[in-house]
Protein backbone atom coordinates (compact mmCIF):
# COMPACT_ATOMS: atom_id res chain seq x y z
CA UNK A 1 0.00 0.00 0.00
CA UNK A 2 2.14 2.85 1.26
CA UNK A 3 5.50 1.89 -0.13
CA UNK A 4 8.19 4.43 0.57
CA UNK A 5 9.08 6.51 -2.43
CA UNK A 6 12.59 6.36 -3.89
CA UNK A 7 14.94 8.71 -2.09
CA UNK A 8 15.05 11.08 -5.04
CA UNK A 9 11.45 12.07 -4.48
CA UNK A 10 11.31 12.15 -0.72
CA UNK A 11 12.59 15.73 -0.52
CA UNK A 12 9.57 16.92 -2.47
CA UNK A 13 6.69 18.21 -0.43
CA UNK A 14 3.69 15.89 -0.41
CA UNK A 15 1.13 17.00 -2.95
CA UNK A 16 -1.84 15.48 -1.34
CA UNK A 17 -2.68 15.86 2.27
CA UNK A 18 -2.51 12.64 4.29
CA UNK A 19 -5.66 10.78 3.48
CA UNK A 20 -6.89 10.79 7.06
CA UNK A 21 -8.03 7.95 9.24
CA UNK A 22 -8.73 4.42 8.01
CA UNK A 23 -12.40 5.30 8.50
CA UNK A 24 -12.06 8.10 5.94
CA UNK A 25 -10.46 5.70 3.52
CA UNK A 26 -13.45 3.42 3.88
CA UNK A 27 -16.05 6.15 3.47
CA UNK A 28 -14.28 7.60 0.44
CA UNK A 29 -14.02 4.27 -1.31
CA UNK A 30 -15.91 4.37 -4.60
CA UNK A 31 -18.02 1.38 -3.59
CA UNK A 32 -18.84 2.69 -0.11
CA UNK A 33 -22.28 4.08 -0.91
CA UNK A 34 -23.56 1.16 -2.93
CA UNK A 35 -22.15 -1.41 -0.49
CA UNK A 36 -23.76 0.41 2.41
CA UNK A 37 -27.06 0.48 0.56
CA UNK A 38 -26.91 -3.26 -0.04
CA UNK A 39 -25.96 -4.05 3.55
CA UNK A 40 -28.70 -1.70 4.77
CA UNK A 41 -31.29 -3.49 2.65
CA UNK A 42 -30.18 -6.89 3.87
CA UNK A 43 -30.30 -5.76 7.51
CA UNK A 44 -33.68 -4.13 7.01
CA UNK A 45 -35.26 -7.17 5.36
CA UNK A 46 -33.77 -9.45 7.98
CA UNK A 47 -35.41 -7.35 10.67
CA UNK A 48 -38.74 -7.12 8.81
CA UNK A 49 -38.88 -10.67 7.49
CA UNK A 50 -36.90 -12.53 10.10
CA UNK A 51 -34.35 -15.22 9.34
CA UNK A 52 -36.40 -16.54 6.39
CA UNK A 53 -34.73 -13.83 4.40
CA UNK A 54 -31.24 -15.12 5.20
CA UNK A 55 -32.16 -18.79 4.89
CA UNK A 56 -30.13 -20.91 2.47
CA UNK A 57 -33.02 -21.51 0.05
CA UNK A 58 -33.84 -17.82 -0.08
CA UNK A 59 -30.25 -16.76 -0.66
CA UNK A 60 -30.04 -19.40 -3.36
CA UNK A 61 -33.18 -18.03 -4.99
CA UNK A 62 -31.78 -14.55 -5.00
CA UNK A 63 -28.43 -15.71 -6.42
CA UNK A 64 -30.20 -17.65 -9.14
CA UNK A 65 -32.39 -14.69 -10.02
CA UNK A 66 -29.37 -12.41 -10.21
CA UNK A 67 -26.98 -14.69 -12.09
CA UNK A 68 -28.23 -14.35 -15.64
CA UNK A 69 -28.68 -10.62 -15.19
CA UNK A 70 -25.13 -10.38 -13.83
CA UNK A 71 -23.70 -11.93 -16.98
CA UNK A 72 -25.48 -9.28 -19.06
CA UNK A 73 -24.41 -6.55 -16.64
CA UNK A 74 -20.74 -7.54 -16.88
CA UNK A 75 -20.80 -7.07 -20.65
CA UNK A 76 -22.70 -3.81 -20.36
CA UNK A 77 -20.16 -2.57 -17.77
CA UNK A 78 -17.34 -3.04 -20.29
CA UNK A 79 -19.35 -1.15 -22.88
CA UNK A 80 -20.20 1.70 -20.50
CA UNK A 81 -16.54 2.04 -19.50
CA UNK A 82 -15.72 2.73 -23.15
CA UNK A 83 -18.26 5.59 -22.96
CA UNK A 84 -20.71 3.50 -24.96
CA UNK A 85 -24.05 1.90 -24.25
CA UNK A 86 -25.67 -1.39 -25.15
CA UNK A 87 -29.46 -1.40 -25.26
CA UNK A 88 -29.57 -4.64 -27.22
CA UNK A 89 -28.42 -7.30 -24.72
CA UNK A 90 -31.95 -8.49 -23.84
CA UNK A 91 -32.89 -8.94 -27.48
CA UNK A 92 -29.57 -10.57 -28.28
CA UNK A 93 -30.22 -12.96 -25.39
CA UNK A 94 -33.64 -13.84 -26.83
CA UNK A 95 -32.39 -14.18 -30.41
CA UNK A 96 -29.45 -16.38 -29.37
CA UNK A 97 -31.75 -18.52 -27.24
CA UNK A 98 -34.25 -18.93 -30.07
CA UNK A 99 -31.64 -19.92 -32.65
CA UNK A 100 -30.00 -22.24 -30.16
CA UNK A 101 -33.38 -23.83 -29.36
CA UNK A 102 -34.22 -24.31 -33.04
CA UNK A 103 -30.85 -25.96 -33.70
CA UNK A 104 -31.15 -28.24 -30.64
CA UNK A 105 -34.68 -29.29 -31.55
CA UNK A 106 -33.52 -29.93 -35.09
CA UNK A 107 -30.68 -32.11 -33.85
CA UNK A 108 -32.88 -33.94 -31.38
CA UNK A 109 -31.32 -35.99 -28.61
CA UNK A 110 -31.32 -35.45 -24.89
CA UNK A 111 -27.57 -35.62 -24.24
CA UNK A 112 -24.69 -33.21 -23.78
CA UNK A 113 -23.76 -33.37 -27.45
CA UNK A 114 -26.92 -31.52 -28.45
CA UNK A 115 -26.75 -29.20 -25.46
CA UNK A 116 -23.17 -28.17 -26.18
CA UNK A 117 -23.91 -27.55 -29.86
CA UNK A 118 -26.75 -25.36 -28.60
CA UNK A 119 -24.34 -23.52 -26.32
CA UNK A 120 -21.90 -22.94 -29.16
CA UNK A 121 -24.69 -21.68 -31.43
CA UNK A 122 -25.99 -19.30 -28.75
CA UNK A 123 -22.55 -17.87 -28.01
CA UNK A 124 -21.65 -17.45 -31.68
CA UNK A 125 -25.03 -15.80 -32.42
CA UNK A 126 -24.53 -13.35 -29.56
CA UNK A 127 -20.97 -12.65 -30.58
CA UNK A 128 -21.93 -11.96 -34.21
CA UNK A 129 -24.77 -9.59 -33.29
CA UNK A 130 -22.51 -7.87 -30.76
CA UNK A 131 -19.81 -7.50 -33.38
CA UNK A 132 -22.32 -5.92 -35.75
CA UNK A 133 -23.05 -3.36 -33.01
CA UNK A 134 -19.34 -2.85 -32.45
CA UNK A 135 -18.53 -2.55 -36.13
CA UNK A 136 -21.17 0.15 -36.59
CA UNK A 137 -20.03 2.03 -33.50
CA UNK A 138 -16.29 1.73 -34.08
CA UNK A 139 -15.86 1.81 -37.84
CA UNK A 140 -18.97 3.70 -38.99
CA UNK A 141 -18.74 6.12 -36.04
CA UNK A 142 -22.44 5.81 -35.25
CA UNK A 143 -23.92 6.66 -31.87
CA UNK A 144 -23.94 3.53 -29.69
CA UNK A 145 -27.39 4.22 -28.26
CA UNK A 146 -28.92 4.43 -31.73
CA UNK A 147 -27.01 1.43 -33.07
CA UNK A 148 -27.94 -0.80 -30.14
CA UNK A 149 -31.52 0.53 -30.14
CA UNK A 150 -31.70 -0.64 -33.74
CA UNK A 151 -30.26 -4.01 -32.75
CA UNK A 152 -32.70 -4.18 -29.82
CA UNK A 153 -35.61 -4.04 -32.26
CA UNK A 154 -34.04 -6.05 -35.06
CA UNK A 155 -32.84 -8.99 -32.96
CA UNK A 156 -36.16 -9.27 -31.14
CA UNK A 157 -38.03 -9.02 -34.44
CA UNK A 158 -35.88 -11.75 -36.00
CA UNK A 159 -36.54 -13.98 -33.00
CA UNK A 160 -40.28 -13.44 -33.43
CA UNK A 161 -40.09 -14.06 -37.17
CA UNK A 162 -38.23 -17.31 -36.57
CA UNK A 163 -40.78 -18.54 -34.06
CA UNK A 164 -43.95 -16.93 -35.34
CA UNK A 165 -44.07 -15.15 -32.01
CA UNK A 166 -44.66 -18.36 -30.08
CA UNK A 167 -42.26 -19.38 -27.36
CA UNK A 168 -40.38 -22.59 -28.05
CA UNK A 169 -39.60 -25.25 -25.48
CA UNK A 170 -38.02 -28.68 -25.52
CA UNK A 171 -34.42 -28.54 -24.36
CA UNK A 172 -32.33 -31.68 -23.92
CA UNK A 173 -32.90 -33.40 -20.57
CA UNK A 174 -29.32 -32.95 -19.43
CA UNK A 175 -29.59 -29.23 -20.05
CA UNK A 176 -32.68 -28.94 -17.87
CA UNK A 177 -30.93 -30.98 -15.18
CA UNK A 178 -27.98 -28.64 -15.45
CA UNK A 179 -30.24 -25.60 -15.12
CA UNK A 180 -31.70 -26.93 -11.89
CA UNK A 181 -28.51 -28.62 -10.72
CA UNK A 182 -26.18 -27.60 -7.95
CA UNK A 183 -22.65 -28.14 -6.81
CA UNK A 184 -23.14 -28.77 -3.09
CA UNK A 185 -25.69 -26.02 -2.36
CA UNK A 186 -24.71 -23.67 -5.19
CA UNK A 187 -26.60 -23.76 -8.49
CA UNK A 188 -24.40 -24.28 -11.57
CA UNK A 189 -25.77 -21.12 -13.14
CA UNK A 190 -24.58 -19.12 -10.16
CA UNK A 191 -21.13 -20.69 -10.43
CA UNK A 192 -20.92 -19.80 -14.11
CA UNK A 193 -22.03 -16.23 -13.47
CA UNK A 194 -19.46 -15.91 -10.69
CA UNK A 195 -16.73 -17.30 -12.94
CA UNK A 196 -17.68 -14.84 -15.70
CA UNK A 197 -17.55 -11.95 -13.23
CA UNK A 198 -14.16 -13.02 -11.85
CA UNK A 199 -12.58 -13.49 -15.28
CA UNK A 200 -14.06 -10.21 -16.53
CA UNK A 201 -12.94 -8.38 -13.40
CA UNK A 202 -9.39 -9.70 -13.58
CA UNK A 203 -9.17 -8.92 -17.29
CA UNK A 204 -10.52 -5.42 -16.74
CA UNK A 205 -8.26 -4.44 -13.86
CA UNK A 206 -5.05 -6.39 -14.41
CA UNK A 207 -4.46 -6.73 -18.14
CA UNK A 208 -3.53 -4.48 -21.03
CA UNK A 209 -6.91 -5.23 -22.58
CA UNK A 210 -8.66 -3.75 -19.56
CA UNK A 211 -6.31 -0.79 -19.35
CA UNK A 212 -7.00 0.03 -22.99
CA UNK A 213 -10.74 -0.24 -22.32
CA UNK A 214 -10.47 2.44 -19.63
CA UNK A 215 -8.20 4.58 -21.81
CA UNK A 216 -10.62 4.55 -24.74
CA UNK A 217 -13.52 5.57 -22.51
CA UNK A 218 -11.47 8.20 -20.75
CA UNK A 219 -10.04 9.89 -23.83
CA UNK A 220 -10.50 8.21 -27.18
CA UNK A 221 -8.22 10.61 -29.00
CA UNK A 222 -5.42 10.03 -26.50
CA UNK A 223 -5.82 6.29 -26.98
CA UNK A 224 -5.57 6.67 -30.76
CA UNK A 225 -2.42 8.76 -30.46
CA UNK A 226 -0.92 6.29 -28.01
CA UNK A 227 -1.14 3.70 -30.76
CA UNK A 228 -3.94 1.64 -29.19
CA UNK A 229 -6.01 -0.04 -31.93
CA UNK A 230 -9.12 1.81 -30.79
CA UNK A 231 -11.58 0.70 -33.47
CA UNK A 232 -10.66 -2.96 -33.20
CA UNK A 233 -10.80 -2.78 -29.42
CA UNK A 234 -14.21 -1.07 -29.38
CA UNK A 235 -15.66 -3.59 -31.82
CA UNK A 236 -14.38 -6.43 -29.67
CA UNK A 237 -15.96 -4.92 -26.52
CA UNK A 238 -19.41 -4.93 -28.14
CA UNK A 239 -18.73 -8.43 -29.43
CA UNK A 240 -17.94 -9.55 -25.87
CA UNK A 241 -21.15 -7.95 -24.61
CA UNK A 242 -23.06 -9.85 -27.29
CA UNK A 243 -21.18 -13.07 -26.55
CA UNK A 244 -22.12 -12.84 -22.88
CA UNK A 245 -25.74 -12.17 -23.87
CA UNK A 246 -25.60 -15.35 -25.96
CA UNK A 247 -24.25 -17.29 -23.00
CA UNK A 248 -27.01 -15.80 -20.84
CA UNK A 249 -29.53 -16.87 -23.48
CA UNK A 250 -28.43 -20.49 -23.28
CA UNK A 251 -28.38 -20.43 -19.46
CA UNK A 252 -31.85 -18.90 -19.49
CA UNK A 253 -33.06 -21.81 -21.63
CA UNK A 254 -31.49 -24.30 -19.25
CA UNK A 255 -33.14 -22.73 -16.19
CA UNK A 256 -36.59 -21.90 -17.58
CA UNK A 257 -36.85 -24.43 -20.41
CA UNK A 258 -38.42 -21.90 -22.76
CA UNK A 259 -37.34 -18.99 -24.94
CA UNK A 260 -39.44 -16.41 -23.07
CA UNK A 261 -39.36 -14.01 -26.02
CA UNK A 262 -41.42 -11.28 -24.38
CA UNK A 263 -39.62 -11.39 -21.03
CA UNK A 264 -36.37 -9.55 -21.72
CA UNK A 265 -37.33 -6.11 -22.97
CA UNK A 266 -36.05 -4.41 -19.82
CA UNK A 267 -32.88 -6.50 -19.44
CA UNK A 268 -30.56 -3.93 -20.98
CA UNK A 269 -31.85 -1.18 -18.72
CA UNK A 270 -31.54 -3.41 -15.67
CA UNK A 271 -28.01 -4.33 -16.65
CA UNK A 272 -27.11 -0.68 -17.12
CA UNK A 273 -28.72 0.11 -13.75
CA UNK A 274 -26.47 -2.47 -12.11
CA UNK A 275 -23.38 -1.01 -13.76
CA UNK A 276 -24.27 2.58 -12.86
CA UNK A 277 -25.24 1.69 -9.29
CA UNK A 278 -21.84 0.02 -9.12
CA UNK A 279 -20.09 3.25 -10.00
CA UNK A 280 -19.62 3.00 -13.77
CA UNK A 281 -19.74 6.42 -15.39
CA UNK A 282 -21.80 7.03 -18.52
CA UNK A 283 -19.04 9.43 -19.55
CA UNK A 284 -16.68 6.47 -19.73
CA UNK A 285 -13.34 5.68 -18.16
CA UNK A 286 -14.76 4.63 -14.78
CA UNK A 287 -16.29 1.40 -13.54
CA UNK A 288 -15.55 -1.88 -11.78
CA UNK A 289 -16.90 -5.39 -12.03
CA UNK A 290 -17.09 -5.61 -8.22
CA UNK A 291 -19.32 -2.55 -8.28
CA UNK A 292 -21.53 -4.11 -10.92
CA UNK A 293 -21.87 -7.29 -8.83
CA UNK A 294 -23.08 -5.23 -5.86
CA UNK A 295 -25.21 -2.97 -8.05
CA UNK A 296 -26.79 -6.02 -9.63
CA UNK A 297 -27.68 -7.46 -6.22
CA UNK A 298 -29.62 -4.43 -5.02
CA UNK A 299 -32.75 -4.81 -7.23
CA UNK A 300 -32.72 -8.56 -6.60
CA UNK A 301 -32.61 -8.14 -2.82
CA UNK A 302 -35.31 -5.49 -3.03
CA UNK A 303 -37.64 -7.63 -5.10
CA UNK A 304 -37.14 -10.66 -2.90
CA UNK A 305 -37.45 -8.81 0.38
CA UNK A 306 -40.59 -6.94 -0.67
CA UNK A 307 -42.29 -10.12 -1.80
CA UNK A 308 -41.51 -11.89 1.46
CA UNK A 309 -42.77 -8.84 3.31
CA UNK A 310 -46.05 -9.25 1.41
CA UNK A 311 -45.81 -6.25 -0.89
CA UNK A 312 -46.44 -6.44 -4.60
CA UNK A 313 -43.20 -7.17 -6.46
CA UNK A 314 -43.90 -4.20 -8.70
CA UNK A 315 -42.64 -2.01 -5.89
CA UNK A 316 -39.18 -3.34 -6.70
CA UNK A 317 -39.04 -1.27 -9.88
CA UNK A 318 -40.10 1.85 -8.00
CA UNK A 319 -37.50 1.37 -5.29
CA UNK A 320 -34.76 0.47 -7.78
CA UNK A 321 -35.45 3.66 -9.67
CA UNK A 322 -35.25 5.71 -6.51
CA UNK A 323 -32.09 3.93 -5.35
CA UNK A 324 -30.47 4.54 -8.74
CA UNK A 325 -31.09 8.26 -8.64
CA UNK A 326 -30.07 8.57 -4.98
CA UNK A 327 -26.87 6.59 -5.66
CA UNK A 328 -26.02 8.85 -8.57
CA UNK A 329 -26.62 11.91 -6.42
CA UNK A 330 -24.44 10.64 -3.56
CA UNK A 331 -21.73 9.73 -6.06
CA UNK A 332 -21.89 13.22 -7.49
CA UNK A 333 -21.52 14.71 -4.02
CA UNK A 334 -18.51 12.50 -3.38
CA UNK A 335 -16.87 13.48 -6.65
CA UNK A 336 -17.55 17.14 -5.98
CA UNK A 337 -15.87 16.83 -2.60
CA UNK A 338 -12.82 15.10 -4.00
CA UNK A 339 -12.42 17.61 -6.83
CA UNK A 340 -12.60 20.45 -4.31
CA UNK A 341 -9.87 18.72 -2.32
CA UNK A 342 -7.63 18.41 -5.32
CA UNK A 343 -8.46 21.99 -6.29
CA UNK A 344 -7.03 23.09 -2.99
CA UNK A 345 -3.93 21.01 -3.58
CA UNK A 346 -3.23 22.43 -6.97
CA UNK A 347 -3.58 25.98 -5.70
CA UNK A 348 -1.14 25.33 -2.88
Amino acid sequence: MTRTAPSSTTDLPPLTAPRGTPMDRVTRHPLFVVSSALIGLVVMFTIVNGWTFLSTPNIRNMALAGSIMLILAVGVTYVIITAGFDLSVGSVLVFSGVVSMIVMRGLGGEGWGTALVGLLVAVVCGCVLGYVNGFLVAYADLNPIIVTLGMFGAALGLAQVATGGQDLSGIPTVMAQFGLGRLVEVPWVVIIAAAVAVVAGVALHYTAFGRHTFAIGSNKEAAVRAGIPVRRHLASIYAISGLLAGLAGWLSLSVYGTTNIAGHSLDALNAATAAILGGASLFGGVGTIAGTVIGNAIPIVLANGLVIAGLQSFWQQVVTGVVLVVALYLDRLRRLRSSRRSGKNSAA
Binding site: T207, F214, A215, N219, A222, S346
Partner: protein, 267 residues
Amino acid sequence: MSATQAAETALSTRGVRVSYGHVQALRGVDFDCRPGEVTALIGDNGAGKSTLVKVLSGALAPDAGEVFVAGRPFHATAPTDAQAAGIETVWQDLALAPDLGPVENMFLGREVRRRGVLGALGFLDNKAMAAVALDEFAQLGVRVDARRGSVSEMSGGQRQGVAVARAVSWARNVVILDEPTAALGVVQTKGVLDMVRRVADRGLAVVLITHNMSDVLSVSDRIEVLRLGERVASYARADASLETLVAAMTGGTATPATTPDRNEGAE
Protein backbone atom coordinates in the same frame (compact mmCIF):
# COMPACT_ATOMS: atom_id res chain seq x y z
CA MET B 1 21.93 19.32 -51.98
CA SER B 2 21.29 19.77 -48.32
CA ALA B 3 21.89 16.16 -47.40
CA THR B 4 25.10 16.99 -45.56
CA GLN B 5 23.38 19.70 -43.58
CA ALA B 6 20.52 17.38 -42.76
CA ALA B 7 22.89 14.71 -41.54
CA GLU B 8 23.89 16.60 -38.40
CA THR B 9 20.35 17.45 -37.49
CA ALA B 10 17.96 15.34 -35.48
CA LEU B 11 14.92 16.37 -37.47
CA SER B 12 14.79 18.59 -40.52
CA THR B 13 12.61 19.45 -43.48
CA ARG B 14 13.47 20.66 -46.95
CA GLY B 15 10.96 22.44 -49.16
CA VAL B 16 7.90 21.14 -47.37
CA ARG B 17 4.64 22.21 -48.94
CA VAL B 18 1.14 21.60 -47.61
CA SER B 19 -2.09 22.95 -49.08
CA TYR B 20 -5.59 22.77 -47.72
CA GLY B 21 -7.69 23.31 -50.83
CA HIS B 22 -6.71 26.72 -52.15
CA VAL B 23 -4.93 27.70 -48.96
CA GLN B 24 -1.19 27.13 -48.98
CA ALA B 25 -0.36 26.51 -45.35
CA LEU B 26 3.31 25.74 -45.96
CA ARG B 27 5.12 27.06 -49.04
CA GLY B 28 8.42 25.24 -49.03
CA VAL B 29 9.60 25.24 -45.44
CA ASP B 30 13.15 24.36 -44.41
CA PHE B 31 13.49 23.52 -40.76
CA ASP B 32 16.30 22.11 -38.63
CA CYS B 33 16.76 21.09 -35.04
CA ARG B 34 19.81 19.52 -33.45
CA PRO B 35 20.43 17.12 -30.60
CA GLY B 36 20.94 18.78 -27.24
CA GLU B 37 19.35 22.01 -28.39
CA VAL B 38 16.00 23.64 -27.78
CA THR B 39 14.75 24.95 -31.11
CA ALA B 40 11.89 27.38 -30.78
CA LEU B 41 9.39 27.54 -33.62
CA ILE B 42 7.53 30.80 -33.58
CA GLY B 43 5.16 32.65 -35.82
CA ASP B 44 1.95 34.61 -35.75
CA ASN B 45 -1.44 32.93 -36.04
CA GLY B 46 -1.79 31.46 -39.50
CA ALA B 47 1.95 31.31 -40.09
CA GLY B 48 1.78 27.56 -40.45
CA LYS B 49 3.14 26.44 -37.08
CA SER B 50 0.42 23.91 -36.43
CA THR B 51 0.71 22.45 -39.90
CA LEU B 52 4.47 22.16 -39.61
CA VAL B 53 4.11 20.46 -36.23
CA LYS B 54 1.81 17.92 -37.80
CA VAL B 55 4.37 17.25 -40.52
CA LEU B 56 7.26 17.03 -38.03
CA SER B 57 5.32 14.66 -35.78
CA GLY B 58 4.29 12.42 -38.64
CA ALA B 59 0.60 13.20 -38.31
CA LEU B 60 0.43 14.77 -41.79
CA ALA B 61 2.28 13.83 -44.95
CA PRO B 62 3.49 16.89 -46.89
CA ASP B 63 2.30 17.47 -50.47
CA ALA B 64 5.89 18.11 -51.50
CA GLY B 65 9.30 18.30 -49.91
CA GLU B 66 11.08 15.95 -47.58
CA VAL B 67 11.41 15.23 -43.89
CA PHE B 68 14.67 13.82 -42.52
CA VAL B 69 15.18 12.08 -39.20
CA ALA B 70 18.86 12.02 -38.28
CA GLY B 71 19.62 12.66 -41.93
CA ARG B 72 17.53 9.80 -43.27
CA PRO B 73 14.33 10.39 -45.26
CA PHE B 74 11.23 9.85 -43.14
CA HIS B 75 7.78 9.07 -44.49
CA ALA B 76 5.07 8.65 -41.88
CA THR B 77 1.88 6.85 -42.78
CA ALA B 78 0.54 6.11 -39.28
CA PRO B 79 0.61 7.94 -35.94
CA THR B 80 2.98 5.30 -34.57
CA ASP B 81 5.57 5.76 -37.33
CA ALA B 82 6.98 8.86 -35.67
CA GLN B 83 7.16 7.00 -32.36
CA ALA B 84 9.08 4.25 -34.09
CA ALA B 85 11.49 6.87 -35.43
CA GLY B 86 12.11 8.16 -31.91
CA ILE B 87 9.97 11.28 -32.21
CA GLU B 88 7.48 12.10 -29.45
CA THR B 89 5.01 14.96 -29.47
CA VAL B 90 3.32 16.64 -26.53
CA TRP B 91 0.18 18.07 -28.07
CA GLN B 92 -1.45 21.19 -26.76
CA ASP B 93 -4.39 19.16 -25.45
CA LEU B 94 -1.87 16.77 -23.81
CA ALA B 95 -3.73 13.63 -24.91
CA LEU B 96 -3.85 12.17 -21.41
CA ALA B 97 -6.56 9.82 -20.21
CA PRO B 98 -7.95 11.82 -17.25
CA ASP B 99 -9.43 8.82 -15.42
CA LEU B 100 -6.12 6.97 -15.37
CA GLY B 101 -3.21 7.72 -13.06
CA PRO B 102 0.10 9.32 -14.05
CA VAL B 103 1.94 6.00 -14.33
CA GLU B 104 -0.83 4.48 -16.41
CA ASN B 105 -0.77 7.49 -18.71
CA MET B 106 2.97 7.36 -19.05
CA PHE B 107 2.78 3.80 -20.36
CA LEU B 108 -0.45 4.22 -22.33
CA GLY B 109 -0.31 1.96 -25.37
CA ARG B 110 3.16 0.73 -24.37
CA GLU B 111 2.34 -1.09 -21.16
CA VAL B 112 4.95 -3.32 -19.60
CA ARG B 113 3.67 -6.85 -19.25
CA ARG B 114 4.66 -9.50 -16.80
CA ARG B 115 7.05 -12.21 -17.76
CA GLY B 116 6.00 -15.66 -18.77
CA VAL B 117 2.51 -16.99 -19.22
CA LEU B 118 0.77 -14.16 -17.40
CA GLY B 119 2.46 -11.64 -19.66
CA ALA B 120 1.37 -13.54 -22.72
CA LEU B 121 -2.18 -13.27 -21.38
CA GLY B 122 -1.75 -9.50 -21.18
CA PHE B 123 -1.20 -9.15 -17.44
CA LEU B 124 0.49 -5.87 -16.54
CA ASP B 125 3.62 -5.37 -14.48
CA ASN B 126 2.44 -2.32 -12.56
CA LYS B 127 5.39 -2.35 -10.19
CA ALA B 128 7.93 -2.13 -12.97
CA MET B 129 6.00 0.66 -14.65
CA ALA B 130 5.66 2.62 -11.42
CA ALA B 131 9.39 2.33 -10.72
CA VAL B 132 10.33 3.69 -14.15
CA ALA B 133 7.74 6.45 -13.97
CA LEU B 134 8.72 7.59 -10.48
CA ASP B 135 12.34 7.77 -11.55
CA GLU B 136 11.43 9.81 -14.62
CA PHE B 137 9.20 12.17 -12.64
CA ALA B 138 11.96 12.71 -10.10
CA GLN B 139 14.58 13.43 -12.75
CA LEU B 140 12.36 15.95 -14.51
CA GLY B 141 11.15 17.52 -11.29
CA VAL B 142 7.53 16.56 -11.87
CA ARG B 143 5.81 16.60 -8.52
CA VAL B 144 3.05 14.06 -8.59
CA ASP B 145 1.81 11.42 -6.24
CA ALA B 146 2.42 8.73 -8.79
CA ARG B 147 0.74 5.86 -7.01
CA ARG B 148 -2.59 7.45 -6.25
CA GLY B 149 -5.26 9.44 -7.88
CA SER B 150 -6.15 10.12 -11.48
CA VAL B 151 -4.79 12.77 -13.76
CA SER B 152 -8.14 14.57 -13.55
CA GLU B 153 -7.33 15.47 -9.95
CA MET B 154 -4.05 17.15 -10.89
CA SER B 155 -3.17 20.74 -11.62
CA GLY B 156 -2.38 21.97 -15.11
CA GLY B 157 1.33 22.03 -14.38
CA GLN B 158 1.32 18.49 -13.09
CA ARG B 159 -0.57 17.27 -16.15
CA GLN B 160 1.92 19.02 -18.39
CA GLY B 161 4.67 17.37 -16.39
CA VAL B 162 3.17 13.93 -16.90
CA ALA B 163 2.72 14.54 -20.64
CA VAL B 164 6.30 15.78 -21.02
CA ALA B 165 7.68 12.94 -18.93
CA ARG B 166 5.84 10.46 -21.13
CA ALA B 167 7.25 12.01 -24.30
CA VAL B 168 10.76 12.24 -22.92
CA SER B 169 10.89 8.72 -21.63
CA TRP B 170 10.00 7.30 -25.04
CA ALA B 171 11.78 9.75 -27.36
CA ARG B 172 15.14 8.69 -28.73
CA ASN B 173 15.66 11.63 -31.07
CA VAL B 174 13.19 14.47 -30.83
CA VAL B 175 10.58 15.83 -28.43
CA ILE B 176 8.08 18.27 -29.92
CA LEU B 177 6.20 20.48 -27.47
CA ASP B 178 3.16 22.30 -28.82
CA GLU B 179 2.37 25.35 -26.68
CA PRO B 180 3.38 23.64 -23.43
CA THR B 181 2.88 26.73 -21.27
CA ALA B 182 -0.27 28.12 -22.87
CA ALA B 183 -2.59 27.24 -20.00
CA LEU B 184 -0.16 27.62 -17.11
CA GLY B 185 0.52 30.16 -14.41
CA VAL B 186 3.85 31.85 -13.78
CA VAL B 187 5.34 29.30 -11.39
CA GLN B 188 4.15 26.32 -13.38
CA THR B 189 5.48 27.86 -16.58
CA LYS B 190 8.91 28.17 -15.03
CA GLY B 191 8.72 24.55 -13.94
CA VAL B 192 7.90 23.38 -17.45
CA LEU B 193 10.65 25.51 -19.01
CA ASP B 194 13.18 24.09 -16.54
CA MET B 195 12.01 20.66 -17.60
CA VAL B 196 12.43 21.56 -21.28
CA ARG B 197 16.01 22.56 -20.56
CA ARG B 198 16.73 19.30 -18.76
CA VAL B 199 15.33 17.33 -21.68
CA ALA B 200 17.70 19.07 -24.10
CA ASP B 201 20.60 18.56 -21.70
CA ARG B 202 20.01 14.82 -22.05
CA GLY B 203 20.97 15.14 -25.68
CA LEU B 204 17.50 15.08 -27.21
CA ALA B 205 16.45 17.65 -29.76
CA VAL B 206 13.56 19.71 -28.43
CA VAL B 207 11.18 21.61 -30.69
CA LEU B 208 9.26 24.22 -28.73
CA ILE B 209 6.22 25.81 -30.35
CA THR B 210 4.97 28.84 -28.51
CA HIS B 211 3.41 32.25 -28.72
CA ASN B 212 5.26 33.45 -25.68
CA MET B 213 8.37 35.45 -26.55
CA SER B 214 9.72 35.47 -23.02
CA ASP B 215 9.59 31.66 -22.98
CA VAL B 216 11.43 31.61 -26.29
CA LEU B 217 14.16 33.96 -25.14
CA SER B 218 14.63 32.26 -21.78
CA VAL B 219 14.98 28.65 -22.86
CA SER B 220 15.83 28.19 -26.53
CA ASP B 221 19.18 27.75 -28.26
CA ARG B 222 17.92 28.47 -31.75
CA ILE B 223 14.83 30.24 -32.98
CA GLU B 224 13.12 29.56 -36.29
CA VAL B 225 10.53 32.08 -37.43
CA LEU B 226 7.63 31.18 -39.70
CA ARG B 227 5.57 33.70 -41.59
CA LEU B 228 2.88 32.98 -44.18
CA GLY B 229 4.01 29.41 -44.63
CA GLU B 230 7.73 30.07 -45.01
CA ARG B 231 10.75 30.19 -42.75
CA VAL B 232 11.68 33.82 -42.84
CA ALA B 233 14.42 33.89 -40.24
CA SER B 234 16.62 31.65 -38.14
CA TYR B 235 18.51 32.97 -35.13
CA ALA B 236 20.93 31.74 -32.56
CA ARG B 237 19.66 32.75 -29.14
CA ALA B 238 22.43 35.33 -28.71
CA ASP B 239 21.44 37.14 -31.90
CA ALA B 240 17.75 37.39 -31.08
CA SER B 241 15.85 40.01 -29.20
CA LEU B 242 12.19 40.73 -28.70
CA GLU B 243 12.34 43.39 -31.40
CA THR B 244 14.07 41.27 -34.02
CA LEU B 245 11.72 38.35 -33.40
CA VAL B 246 8.60 40.46 -33.63
CA ALA B 247 9.90 42.12 -36.75
CA ALA B 248 10.58 38.76 -38.35
CA MET B 249 7.17 37.40 -37.35
CA THR B 250 5.18 40.36 -38.58
CA GLY B 251 7.33 41.16 -41.57
CA GLY B 252 7.74 44.79 -40.56
CA THR B 253 10.09 46.77 -38.42
CA ALA B 254 9.41 46.32 -34.78
CA THR B 255 7.56 49.01 -32.97
CA PRO B 256 8.37 48.80 -29.26
CA ALA B 257 4.82 49.77 -28.41
CA THR B 258 3.40 46.41 -29.51
CA THR B 259 3.31 43.69 -26.92
CA PRO B 260 4.25 40.50 -28.67
CA ASP B 261 4.02 38.05 -25.83
CA ARG B 262 0.38 37.37 -26.10
CA ASN B 263 -0.52 34.11 -24.60
CA GLU B 264 -3.33 32.63 -26.57
CA GLY B 265 -4.50 29.21 -25.60
CA ALA B 266 -5.94 28.17 -28.91
CA GLU B 267 -5.36 28.96 -32.51
